[in-house]
Symmetry: C2
Amino acid sequence: MLTDVNDILKKNQLSVTDSRKSILDLFIHSNGALAHADIEKQTGEKFDRVTVYRTLQVFMEKGIIHTIPTSDNSIRYALCKDDCTGGHHHDNHVHFICKICGLTSCLDSVTVPEVRLPVGFRPLEKQMIVTGICEGCQ
Amino acid sequence: MLTDVNDILKKNQLSVTDSRKSILDLFIHSNGALAHADIEKQTGEKFDRVTVYRTLQVFMEKGIIHTIPTSDNSIRYALCKDDCTGGHHHDNHVHFICKICGLTSCLDSVTVPEVRLPVGFRPLEKQMIVTGICEGCQ
DNA sequence: ATGCTAATGCAACGAAGTTGCAAAAATGTG
DNA sequence: CACATTTTTGCAACTTCGTTGCATTAGCAT
């Protein structure tokens, strides 16, 4: 896995800018998913709100990050630990949300189990969200 | 399953009002989940935005409807086909979102499969979202 | 029918996200 | 390294979404 932000940006044909480097760095050094608000706080409001939105959008398009569905209204973004170049890697692992600390993480080691759908429903992608208590909050 | 809106409201110790009757009726006669905007449109803006929000909130508290997690920012609410009095019924079935028509439905007949988590993660609830193509859009 | 309780509508507010545009930074080329 | 071109950023304004307080209205029990 690439951990150098410059390499990742160049590999994805993106201009290397301060905001992109900082935000990507944040994802790499965070062990959970990040909401837009987290990013704004953690970058110390160094960048404009709009820039953060647009950066996340670009990262999404390039497949660097993906969204995690949550029951409340908050979109959370996560960088996959494994190489995401396959495009649909995020459909094959389970997302875990801790009820206590709110940590949202990708359980890369767990594969989403198969499910049988009723006749007529053709599945393309599947996502699984498990809520519970994480390692640190036991 | 109760289909009379008055009965459902009374059973849940709720005052029977026009807005609650209309909105509950909408859920019963809709085959998919509804977003707040859908409800506003389909009731013909007869009720105040605030009333719709509060009605949904009350229905949530009473367990009449539940939210469906989605990757985009839209909260969708759904009434379960089966009796929801158990409280956590919605954690045991699969949600299906059609990529073409956007239909969001509860596949009541499909049970969420078990999944093994890494040591240290204690699961409490699990949800599964399958995206694909629905019966009508084949 | 009456009084009490609960729900509604209005207004105002705050948060979240988007768009257009000029200024600034990054990139490629000589 | 300097230049022209392209891309990105920041600002301002705006829309949409959701919430709160309060007076008015509607529902409910007696």
